[in-house]
Each structure stands twice: as C-alpha cells, then as structure tokens.
C-alpha cells in the first residue's frame, strides 16, 4: 500500500519535472529557431507578425557575406586561432608536466600562485599590458592576441592537464627511464600521447575562447581590415540596423563552427567544465 503510494508520488514528480524541463527547453530553443527563420525571411517580412517565413531566401546568406568583408574577417580569425592553438597546447602541456612530475623547491607556492591567477580579474593587468604592447609597437597587430599563449597557455589549461597527468602512474615514466629515455623523451613519447583526451579538451576551449573573444580584438585591432569575425559582426550591426534578416544570417554563419564543434565534441567540453569546478577529477 505504502509502496504503491510512494510509486505514484514518484511518478507525479517525474512527470512534473519532465513538463518543467520541456517548458525550459522551449524557452531556450525559440530564440534559436526564430533566428534561423529571420535569417531566411525576405526583406518585406522582417517586421510582420508571422514567426515563419512565407518564402525561404537562402540568398540572404550570400548577401550577408558580401555586405561585409566576411572572408577577410574569417581569415583574420583563423590567423589568430592557429598560433593560439599551437602555443596553448604545447606550452600548457610542458608546464603541466613540470608540475606533475618534479618535486622542485617552491612548487607548492608556485602552484598556489597559479590557482590564484585563475581568480584574478584580467582587468587589473589589461591596461598595463596594453601600455607595454603599445610601447613596443604591437598595438594594431595580432601579436598581443597570440604571443601570451606561448607562455603557459593559461592557468586553467595547465591546471586541467596537471590534474590529468598526476593520474598517470609514474611506473610508465620509470620504465622508459630505465630504457634510457630522458625527461623530454618521456614527456613527448609517453605522457603526451596518453593525454590526448584532455589535450583535445584544451584545444576545444582554446578554439572557443579565440573564436568568441570580443574584448581582446576590440582593444588591440583598429583597422577594419584586421577585424576578427566577432568584431566584424558588431561592426555589421552598426551598418545595417534594420536589416535583421541579413544580421541574423551573418550571426548564424559566425556561430556555425562553434555549433559544429559542440555537437562533435560535447563530452569533452562538459567533462572539462566539471573538472575545472572540482566536481570531477
């Protein structure tokens, strides 16, 4: 008797949860579906009440691409992205190896500083960094957006990799060391290949970080010929304030690579976020 009542209660809670989740999912999806609909609407339907377009205008996408220097912005973004990926992956792995494999003097203090910098708001260093880069003539070039990646690639990535490397038993290293391999060989041939999943996560986060970065290019790049996609899109918004169909088409194009990446690699992203919060490790 008691059990069946509990069963009913359980069922009711589950059904309720399902309904709430469904309503929430609708709230999340409507703006996205609507963005897609707006992107293919003919000019005359931008301000009409109908949610769906009566005629699908795929030409909006090519119009949007032609209205701004889209390919240029795309290339500019990629030119920042690739060095960032290389610099971040290599340097964060090297540093993480140092922290996970050697008991050097002061390691604890350095590691605490590393964790502390994760909490340090970038605004503190933003202005003096800008002044330094300006002094050495790097403003209005992509160098300030690239070079820092080669110096450790960000505390978060080092932390992520160190946690993972610390989980790899030292027996692997020692076996290789007995066979005569040096530390650099052990790092490159044994540890790095075993870190593939977390290196993938680091690459994905770097990709998303660079692709979505707005603040950096905004501060450092002045010439419109050097804009990235994110900046180009906000520039585009200023030019075509009422052409919402073209604006939404452009927005979708900018989002597309990130969406593809997300659907391909969602598990890496979700795991990476969980590890960073300490709920999984």
């Amino acid at each position: 008797m008691n059990n069946t009542r509990k069963g009913y209660l359980n069922l009711i809670i589950r059904v309720m949860a399902m309904l709430v989740l469904f309503a929430g999912a609708v709230f999340i999806l409507i703006p996205l579906i609507w963005t897609i609909c707006m992107a293919v609407k003919p000019d005359g339907e931008i301000y009409t009440k109908n949610f769906f377009p009566t005629k699908i205008m795929f030409s909006n996408f090519s119009k949007a691409i032609k209205s701004i220097a889209f390919f240029k912005y795309f290339l500019n973004t990629v030119k920042i992205l690739i060095p960032n990926l290389i610099g971040t992956v290599i340097s964060s792995a090297i540093v993480a190896y140092g922290f996970s494999r050697f008991n050097f003097k002061g390691k604890r203090v350095w590691f605490l500083i590393l964790l502390a910098t994760m909490m340090l708001p970038g605004q503190i260093t933003m202005i003096p960094q800008f002044l330094i880069f300006r002094q050495i003539g790097w403003v209005n070039t992509t160098l300030p957006l690239i070079i820092p990646a080669f110096f450790g690639g960000g505390a978060f990535n080092i932390f992520l990799l160190r946690q993972y490397m610390s989980g790899i038993p030292k027996d692997f290293d020692e076996a290789a060391r007995i066979d005569g391999a040096g530390h650099f060989r052990v790092f490159a041939k044994i540890i790095l290949p075993m870190c593939k999943p977390v290196l993938t996560a680091v690459s994905i986060f770097t990709f998303m970080g660079v692709w979505n970065d707005f603040n950096g290019p905004l501060i450092y790049l002045y010439d419109s010929s050097k804009f990235t996609l994110a900046i180009g899109l906000s520039f585009f918004k200023g030019l075509y304030t009422s052409k919402w169909n073209l604006l939404m088409a452009a927005t979708l194009i900018v989002m597309l690579p990130i969406l593809i990446l997300f659907f391909v690699a969602q598990q890496y992203i979700i795991d990476g976020i969980s590890i960073s919060s300490g709920t999984k490790g």
Partner: protein, 309 residues
C-alpha cells in the same frame, strides 16, 4: 657509518638539484609569462594609479598626482552608478541563476527520459559566442521584436526593452537566464557525486524527499555552490560584451556595468591612471567578497575529505 650517511645525504641533494633543475625548466614558460603578463603589469598598474596620463600624448606627459585618482572616486557619479548597476545585477541575477540552474540540474539528475537531449539543449546557449547571443537578443527585445510580438498575442504592448531605463537591466538579466547551462553542468556534475546509498539510507530512516534534499544533498554539494557563487560575482564584475553591444551602457547609464565604465575610461577617454584605480577597486571588491564567502564557508560548506584543494 657516519660517512655512509653523509654520502646518502649528498646523493639526495644531488637528486633534489636535478628535480629543481628539470622542474623549473618545464615550468619556465609559465613563470616567465607570470612575470611578463601578470606581475610586472600589476606593479605598473599600482604605479599608474598614482599618476595622471593621457595616453594620446605619449609617455613624456605622465605626471605623479598622489592620491588624486582615489579622491576622484568620491565625487564620480558615473563610478557610483556603475557600482549600483553591477550590485543590482549581482543581487538579482545570482540567486535567480543559481537556484534555477540547481533546480534544472536536480531534474536532469532524476534519470528521466531524454536526459541527454535535455542536457544538450540546456547547455547549448552557453557555447554560443556572446556577440552572436547579443545580436539575437537585441532583436528579441526590440520594439517590434519577438518578445513584444508574443506579448501582443495576449494583448500587452511591450516597451522597447533595451531603450527604456526601467526595463533595460532586467532585459539583460532575462537574457542571462538563457545562458545558465554552464552553471547547470557544474551542479549536475556535483549532484552525480552525491552517493545514492546515503540518500536511500535517509529515506529508510523516514526522511521525506525535501528533508533528503536539504539535509543530505545541499550539504554535500555545498562546495559546488561555493564555487559557482564566487565565479558568478567575478563574472558580474567582468560583464562587458552584452552591455557594450546591446545598450552601450544606456539609456541614461541604466546598464553602465562596472567593466564597461572601466573600458570607457581607459579606451574612450584615455585616462589610464584613473582606469587603473577603477581596476584596483574592482579587484578589492572581488577579493573582499571572496574572503567573506570563504570565511563564512566553514558554516555552510561541507567538505567530505579535508585535503581537497
């Protein structure tokens, strides 16, 4: 005997020397970066906060002004407005986002059908570039936008949400709910670490679902709540792109977020000294708040094992 000990000790320190050498060698890129991009800039920023410098005229015009920049804070109306906007945003958005993302995580953790698809959908907005999300929501909140078209169906004429001092900040808060997927994932991951046996044991002892939630689940995920709240405060003080793209801080400074004011001071007015002071004030506020949360955490955060960093 004695000699032996000495050689062992000597060997140990040789091994230690090797550890030091390799450890620092591998950690060097980050240590260099720490000095170049964090510590030296922090020192410059500290010096800068006692100086006046209009960057356009070059480094020669830098002038030491003592505490003038700090005194200026007291009479700067925009500074207080920026604080007000950011604190208001914190006070409303943090409870709202934390509770709703925790509730969604709880429901997703019930092992219901389509759990994976739901998780995907809820997480989706938080990977969308902020600039793209800002574009989408600018249109939604427009006078003829999606929201007002929806409201018209029920006979309500909505305002131009982003151009109205009464609604602009709330519009940004609503937009933020859309992106709670990140926080939700962290809660979900925390909830998955709560042992089922513990909850079942409490159930057998006669605790109802609410009691299990408040007496078992909440204490066990309190470190996660702790993490999320601190990150949310830091995030509120760094809030920038949405305000910059959607409202430019307006109308009438009703969405002048702290970071936006900082940006304007540094890169529109070129007042680098005063901007450095604004950055340090921001740092102090975040630090004080984090310390309060950490100090109070011994009352409400429960760590299962003490050695957790």
């Amino acid at each position: 005997m004695k000699k032996d000990k000495k050689t062992v000790k000597g060997k140990m320190s040789a091994a230690q020397k090797k550890e030091n050498r390799y450890g620092y060698l591998f950690a060097m890129p980050w240590i260099l970066g720490l000095f170049l991009f964090t510590l030296i800039p922090m020192i410059i920023s500290a010096i800068l906060s006692f100086c006046n410098w209009d960057i356009v005229t070059g480094i020669k015009t830098i002038r030491f002004v003592g505490l003038d920049n700090f005194k200026r804070l007291g009479t700067d109306k925009e500074f207080f407005q920026a604080l007000k906007v950011t604190f208001k945003f914190c006070l409303i958005s943090i409870p709202l986002y934390q509770i709703s993302s925790l509730l969604i995580a709880l429901m997703l953790n019930m092992r219901i059908k389509f759990m994976k698809s739901f998780r995907l959908i809820y997480f989706l907005p938080s990977i969308i570039p902020v600039i793209a999300a800002s574009m989408i929501w600018t249109q939604i909140f427009g006078e003829q936008g999606l929201l007002n078209q929806g409201l018209k169906l029920v006979g309500v004429t909505g305002p131009a949400w982003l151009n109205n001092t009464k609604t602009s900040l709330y519009a940004l808060i609503i937009m933020g709910i859309w992106g709670i997927g990140n926080t939700m994932i962290i809660y979900l991951s925390g909830l998955q670490g709560v042992s089922e046996e513990l909850k079942e044991a409490a159930g057998i002892d006669g605790a109802n679902a609410l009691q299990v939630f408040f007496k078992i689940t909440i204490p066990l995920i309190s470190p996660t709540i702790f993490f999320n709240v601190i990150m949310a405060v830091i995030g509120s003080f760094q809030y920038f792109t949405q305000a910059f793209v959607m409202t430019k801080g307006g109308p009438l400074n009703s969405t002048l977020f702290y970071n936006l004011y900082l940006y304007t001071t540094a890169y529109k007015k070129y007042e680098m000294g005063y901007a450095a002071v604004l950055a340090w004030v921001m740092f102090a506020i975040i630090l004080v708040f984090t310390l309060i949360v950490i100090k109070s955490s011994s009352f409400w955060v429960y760590y299962q094992n003490d050695d957790k960093i």
